[in-house]
């Protein structure tokens, strides 16, 4: 089941937008418009959240272990996204199911990204951009781009599910 919740500001839990369900192009467009329409206070920050959303949402569509057919019958990833607003920053998080084999290189990549200065990270992005794209066209640079756009470390968490797979959560702060 899919559910979208959009509120200007919920005093109790700071949630601006939350969504769980299929990540296909139709819902990506609706959510992107939701971001543009909801976080109106600062254009620069809204644009950063928008860019981060599109990179991470596309990762869910392509790589989530949990999959369902969309209206045209294509298999698309299922996942969760959450945007919370605090006084000084937005917290943007996504989560999806994965396997331990797939998650280890991603975690290593996050640690590697977090250890770099901004200049190093730009150099790393240039290096990756010059390498052949992965077969799904993600370019291997999505997470580097997320860290550069957020200008904050990538936080992540892994939770074991009952079916012995894992739920992978990635989260970044975007300063106001």
């Amino acid at each position: 089941m899919e559910s979208v919740t959009t509120n200007k500001r919920r005093a109790t839990d700071n949630v601006c937008i939350s969504y769980t369900g299929l990540f296909d192009s139709e819902i990506l467009t609706i959510l992107a418009q939701g971001i543009e329409g909801t976080l109106t206070s600062n254009d620069k920050v809204t644009k950063k959240v928008f860019k981060i959303f599109l990179e991470l949402a596309q990762n869910i569509s392509q790589y989530s272990l949990e999959r369902e057919p969309n209206s045209s019958g294509e298999s698309m990833g299922v996942g969760t996204m959450l945007i919370k607003e605090y006084d000084d920053y937005f917290q943007f998080s996504t989560g999806n199911k994965t396997t331990m084999e797939s998650i280890i290189p991603v975690i290593e990549k996050c640690d590697n990204i977090n250890s770099m200065t901004r200049d190093k990270l730009r150099e790393y992005r240039r290096l990756q951009r010059n390498m052949p794209a992965s077969n799904k066209g993600g370019g291997n640079i999505g997470l580097i781009q997320v860290a550069l756009t957020a200008d904050n470390p990538i936080e992540y968490g892994v939770v074991k599910c009952e079916d012995n797979n894992y739920f992978y959560i990635v989260s970044v702060k975007i300063n106001k």
Partner: protein, 129 residues
């Protein structure tokens, strides 16, 4: 040698398609709007092929104008491919001008353009609006 112009109207629904205008008569090529596509490589391949045709057969001066307000990382690779064709042309004596317009509040975009200059060795005129 006839090379047909490319004209693609951009859209902002179900993925974001950029506006493309490549003119073989004037040599003015413009890429604007937003780029977030279902199959990025499939969209950009004809544009790269067009530039290769233009720079190897028509060989007139070329002005490449980028006014993208948003592009995702898959697109960023394709932009590199386009710029590399222009750099090859310049290295062989072709006349190339690249103007990249960006929102002056978007410092991330400015960094991106600077990194493309380092990557390609092309001189890119960075023009804030």
């Amino acid at each position: 040698m006839e090379l047909e112009n490319i004209e693609i109207e951009g859209s902002h629904k179900n993925f974001f398609t950029p506006t493309v205008k490549f003119d073989a008569q004037t040599g003015i090529c413009e890429l604007s709007g937003e780029s977030f596509l279902e199959d990025t490589a499939e969209f950009y391949k004809p544009l790269v092929d067009w530039l290769v045709e233009f720079t190897t057969k028509i060989k007139k001066p070329i002005a490449f104008i980028i006014k993208l307000t948003y592009f995702n990382t898959s697109t960023s690779r394709c932009i590199l491919d386009l710029l590399n064709v222009l750099k090859d042309y310049e290295d062989e004596g072709g006349e190339v001008t690249v103007n990249w317009h960006y929102d002056e509040n978007d410092s991330d975009m400015q960094e991106d353009i600077e990194d493309y200059m380092i990557d390609t060795g092309l001189n890119i005129n960075i023009i804030p609006f």
